[in-house]
């Protein structure tokens, strides 16, 4: 059990090594034990390095940087243990255009192994989806599904 836990952390870290540079141009992230001598009790810390910055606490990260670091961790776990599906509700809300582009590319990669379902208002992300599902309230207060196709602006 101890070895399995340590082994999983190492696997996630090697997977972070692949995923993190795809979302951030450079930099790195890894998981570590906050109490390495007690593996079965220890909590897990998350360390992030960004090019040219010294991150003393994750709280100093910006809104977009926090979202992107979290997505890097989630997708790194996905790559070693592909869950059958992944459901993301407006995780792109704080990202700028450049990061939206990188996020979309990574989604395409994850979608090779897992089913990805996203809720989004962002046109660029809609454009990279294979299928769009529209939800509307033609009658006030009552949700209805409609078929949607992206109109080329």
């Amino acid at each position: 059990c101890r070895d399995r836990f340590k082994n999983t952390i190492e696997q996630i870290n090697s997977s972070l090594g692949k995923v993190f540079p795809l979302l951030f141009e450079g930099g790195s992230a890894r998981l570590g034990l906050d109490n390495p001598s007690e593996i079965l009790e220890s909590g897990v810390e998350f360390f992030v390095e960004l090019p040219g910055k010294r991150i003393r606490t994750l709280n100093l990260l910006s809104g977009g940087e926090k979202a992107l670091s979290a997505l890097a961790l989630i997708f790194a776990i996905f790559l070693i243990k592909p869950s059958p599906f992944c459901l993301l509700d407006e995780v792109d809300a704080s990202l700028d255009d450049a990061n939206i582009g990188r996020f979309s590319q990574l989604i395409r990669q994850i979608a090779r192994k897992s089913q990805v379902i996203l809720v989004t208002h962002n046109q660029n992300i809609m454009a990279t989806a294979d299928t769009l599902y529209g939800v509307t309230m033609e009658e006030k207060g009552i949700s209805k599904l409609i078929s949607v196709s992206l109109v080329q602006a």
Partner: protein, 167 residues
């Protein structure tokens, strides 16, 4: 255990029977503010066994049943989810069945019902179904609206649970 089809009726803002068939690859759910997109995410979390109404943005399970502007309300809220199991990820007794159907019903009087492949079962059986696949109600594979930053701010103990689920 890919999602194949979700059917909702009487749950949150879906009073009428509504069905979505999901495809392979990347699907995007789009629509105006307040139209019901996050309610679909809640429906999936609920049918996978979520028991805490707060994680479904409700005060009590009663809030999950559709209640209309004019006081109209159906007798129950029910959600059915059909999953693709041709890779045999489900536990041994179900491994050979190509599709698994999970259903949850809540009646206005508070009674609840759970079913797997149309046979009544207990909530535990649904949770057991998704054990170790990373796809259960609380797993890392569902990120609620506004919660993505939470992954960075969570306590080391909470992060340990995520790693254990992936182990």
């Amino acid at each position: 255990m890919r999602l194949k089809r979700l059917t909702i009726s009487g749950f949150k803002s879906f009073p009428k029977r509504t069905s979505i068939t999901f495809s392979h690859g990347v699907s995007a759910i789009v629509g105006p503010n307040g139209s019901g997109k996050s309610n679909i995410v809640d429906a999936i979390r609920w049918v996978l066994g979520e028991q805490n109404p707060r994680l479904l943005r409700a005060r009590s399970m009663d809030d999950l049943i559709y209640h209309g502007h004019n006081g109209k309300a159906p007798g129950s809220a029910w959600v059915r989810l059909v999953l693709d199991n041709h890779e045999g990820m489900a536990p041994p007794e179900l491994a050979s069945i190509p599709e698994i159907e999970v259903e949850r019903i809540l009646f206005r009087n508070g009674d609840a019902k759970f079913r797997i492949n149309r046979k009544n079962c207990r909530l535990k059986a649904i949770r057991y179904l998704f054990l170790d696949t990373g796809a259960g109600a609380r797993a890392y594979s569902i990120i609620d609206q506004g919660q993505v930053g939470h992954f960075v701010g969570m306590l080391p103990r909470e992060r340990r649970e995520i790693v254990e689920e992936a182990a």
